[in-house]
């Protein structure tokens, strides 16, 4: 084809100017939440008309609406998939309101949608009204579901061989914990809730008629536990699992992750115990053999 003649040079060595202005304006408009009828906000008309040509079928605003709807539906869809438990706790309407408010403040800042929920627990803490009256449960569920995202694809470091930590004296041994393990202290048995939810979803899918409707409306809840729930969200053979712990085991793992020696970590974990030292030692041995089997220990992170 014929080479086009270059009419003017508008680019500069720094940022592209007209291009940057267009991109900033269009992005600002399409990221504004949709109306209750899932349409683009009419207040975007001025930006749309300034940059976009209408055609014989659609106004400039209607054309921009296609992108705005795609943006919101894509983000809300991904967010809803990651936080299906939270949706089941809050119900559709409240969850959608929360999701829109959250995504308006914390849009995606990474090339992958995987990180979409990274600010959610902080956001829920700051905005308790959005989850009332189930705020405490919503927070617990959000923590577990974000942990599930991390457990799925955080890196796995080289496992420390059990012989190595059998050889090293406890007051000198430092162990790292695999980055994909998230240790949580919760006030609700969220692991139980997630199992129930999975079951509800499964029976909704196997009841062919109106399955999607049932599935959509599935609500679950659990009562607050009397004792705190200590949960490790982790990965084994590329699947994510929940593992409950005693308080002592949880404290011990946290101390190890913090860089304490094995000896110091055990001391911290059993500081308030009334159990006999032999009993504690038996427990520790049992835990360690299971954790080692799971491949949980790696070299400690360099400090």
């Amino acid at each position: 084809m014929q080479k086009l003649s270059r009419r003017k040079s508008s680019s500069r060595s720094g940022a592209a100017s007209g291009l940057a202005e267009l991109q900033r304006a269009i992005t600002g408009a399409l990221m504004k939440p949709l109306t209750a009828d899932e349409e683009i906000q009419p207040s975007n008309a001025a930006v749309a008309e300034r940059f976009i040509k209408p055609n014989d079928r659609l106004t400039a605003l209607e054309r921009l609406q296609i992108y705005s709807q795609q943006y919101w539906w894509r983000l809300l869809g991904a967010f809803g998939e990651d936080f299906s438990g939270l949706r089941a706790v809050l119900g559709e309407k409240k969850f959608d309101r929360l999701a829109t408010a959250y995504l308006e403040e914390h849009g995606s800042v990474s090339w992958t949608l995987r990180n979409l929920g990274s600010q959610l627990t902080a956001f829920l803490e700051k905005n308790p009204k959005l989850t009332e009256p189930s705020t405490a449960l919503a927070l617990d569920v959000a923590r577990v579901e974000w942990a599930r995202v991390l457990a799925f694809d955080e890196p796995a470091r080289k496992v420390v061989a059990p012989e190595k930590f059998a050889r090293t004296p406890a007051d000198r041994l430092r162990l790292g914990l695999q980055p994909y393990i998230v240790l949580l202290e919760l006030s609700h048995p969220v692991d139980e809730l997630m199992r129930r939810l999975k079951h509800t979803e499964f029976s909704a899918v196997s009841n062919a008629v109106a399955a999607s409707e049932n599935h959509k409306r599935a609500r679950v809840t659990v009562r607050r536990s009397r004792q705190p729930v200590f949960l490790a969200v982790h990965r084994l053979e590329n699947s994510v699992y929940f593992k409950r712990h005693d308080r002592e085991a949880h404290t011990l793992l946290l101390a190890l992750r913090d860089g304490a020696t094995l000896g110091a970590a055990c001391e911290t974990a059993f500081a308030d115990t009334t159990e006999a030292p032999e009993q504690c030692a038996t427990k520790i041995r049992e835990w360690f053999s299971r954790w080692a089997e799971f491949g949980w220990f790696c070299e400690p992170a360099r400090r």
Partner: protein, 282 residues
Amino acid sequence: MPANRFNAFTAYGVGIGLRIPHYDHILGKKPAVDWFEIISENYMVDGGRPLAVLDQILEQYRVVQHGVSMYFGNAARPNREHLKKLKALTKRTQTPWLSDHLCWGSVDGRFTHDLLPMPYTWEAVEWTARNIREVQDFTGIPVAVENVSSYVEFHASEMTEWEFLNEVVERADCGILLDVNNIYVSSKNHTFDPYVYLDAVPAHRVAQIHIAGHTKFKKYLLDTHDHPVLDPVWKMYAHAIARTGRTATLLEWDDHIPSFGEVHAEALKANNFLPHAKALAA
């Protein structure tokens, strides 16, 4: 084109996109597939199932990387972290070429996760070509840019989309991933003759072709990738192949994904057009 410098002188045939619902079938049954296209971003992670599956796939199949968020047309330089992760993945996959879209999609670090069309301006030509060159230089792998389907046109445009494509690929000296479905969708949305576009594409730069299905709404077509390829798109594909010669072709199916067999059978229909092209090209 058949083997050329934009696809690292490979001669791939008909492939399909690697998608999660097909993992078990592919790993279990090991069906014969010429090659798989992967979405790079899905595997730019540090561990877990995505990489474990990818490694198993790589033991059996040829894989080509296709990106969705490099955003060559952004009014900003490519993100360094993104580039590093992308390059690390290319070492793993040994992809002969890399593709991503002729579009923009993030501003000041906020991502739309969409493929937004460019204003076809000279400023955008220079900026986009520069970014493509940077990615090409950094990864050391030939880059092919894909034309996107679009739903808006900008007042600022100074040329047609196909003129813009030509200017960009000339300046960047890169390949083209020609998506014939995207041309069809845009031609309906913006009322132009898709064959004028096809004929303007520099055939010697075509590294790969995409085919896909779309959805017809009352006032526009949407590029949904949730259908078999429609007849007018097959017709355009035949026309494109007649110009480029036998070219690596990939069917995209991203939503309402049917069984592996169904997707693969739809892709293999492309073979009906390839021998003819071979004869023409010979």
